[in-house]
Amino acid sequence: MLLEREITSWKRHKAGFVVEDVSTIIKESVEATIGGNAYQHNRVNQWTTSIVEQCLSQLSKLGKPFKYIITCVIMQKNGAGMQTASTCFWDNSTDGSCTVRWENKFVYCIVSVFGLAI
């Protein structure tokens, strides 16, 4: 009985939206793209595109039956205030999201991944 429950919950965990895996994918992608660079107006366009595309390809490689939405915000450290909020209307048992806040000395980077089960 206990073993059955363990197996079911493991199966659900593997098929569902696993926050830790997604979080790792995001962090690697941001590190690889921005690393220790300063905010450069002419390159930041490539960075955001590169981050979302890398994340998306890694996530689709996971092979889970999900639709993904990935958002990336890069902001120069200049003393400005910024607030972000998001709300979702979905199926709580199958869908999930993961947000990673990353920073270095010159920029903030916020990446959100939303996974919706098919």
């Binding site: 999900f66 639709k67 939303f114």
Partner: protein
């Protein structure tokens, strides 16, 4: 003859109306108008209308205020989502709102989606005033019925 009692002259200053009163009035009026229009137009246009209406209702005419910005973003996303859901279309929604103070900093956002392009879609509204930028993104993913 009636005595004309001239009291103190009070100038009606719309800027002094609190945000909450403005918000409620704008939302009520917006609700009525929107419901009429939404029935006739496609979902993308209605998303745009809803988002811009919500942003204008919550932060139209105010300056960036660090203590209130938390309420504003929460309010914008909640109201947008409520209006979208009220339309009754078979979609799952994700509403994202970013408010940034205008202080010369650079900001870049991007999003990428892995979905069925025939049935799913997104729309983004950019709004600004003298002291801040506001970007609202709505993503709609079709639900298999």
């Amino acid at each position: 003859m009636e005595e004309f009692n001239s009291g103190e002259e009070v100038v009606f200053n719309p800027d002094e109306i609190s945000v909450s009163v403005k918000e409620v009035c704008s939302l009520i009026l917006g609700n009525i108008i929107i419901n009429i229009i939404l029935n006739a137009i496609g979902w993308m246009t209605s998303c745009l209308l809803i988002s811009s209406q919500c942003v204008e209702g919550v932060i139209g005419g105010t300056d960036y205020n660090q203590s209130k910005v938390n309420q504003w973003t929460a309010s914008i996303v909640e109201h947008s989502l409520t209006h979208l859901v009220k339309q009754g279309r078979p979609f799952k929604y994700i509403v994202n709102c970013t408010i940034m103070q205008k202080s010369g900093a650079g900001l870049h956002t991007a999003n990428s989606c892995y979905w069925d392009t025939a049935t799913d879609g997104s729309c983004t509204v950019r709004w600004e005033n003298r002291t801040m930028y506001c970007v609202v993104s709505v993503f709609a993913v079709a639900v298999a019925l």
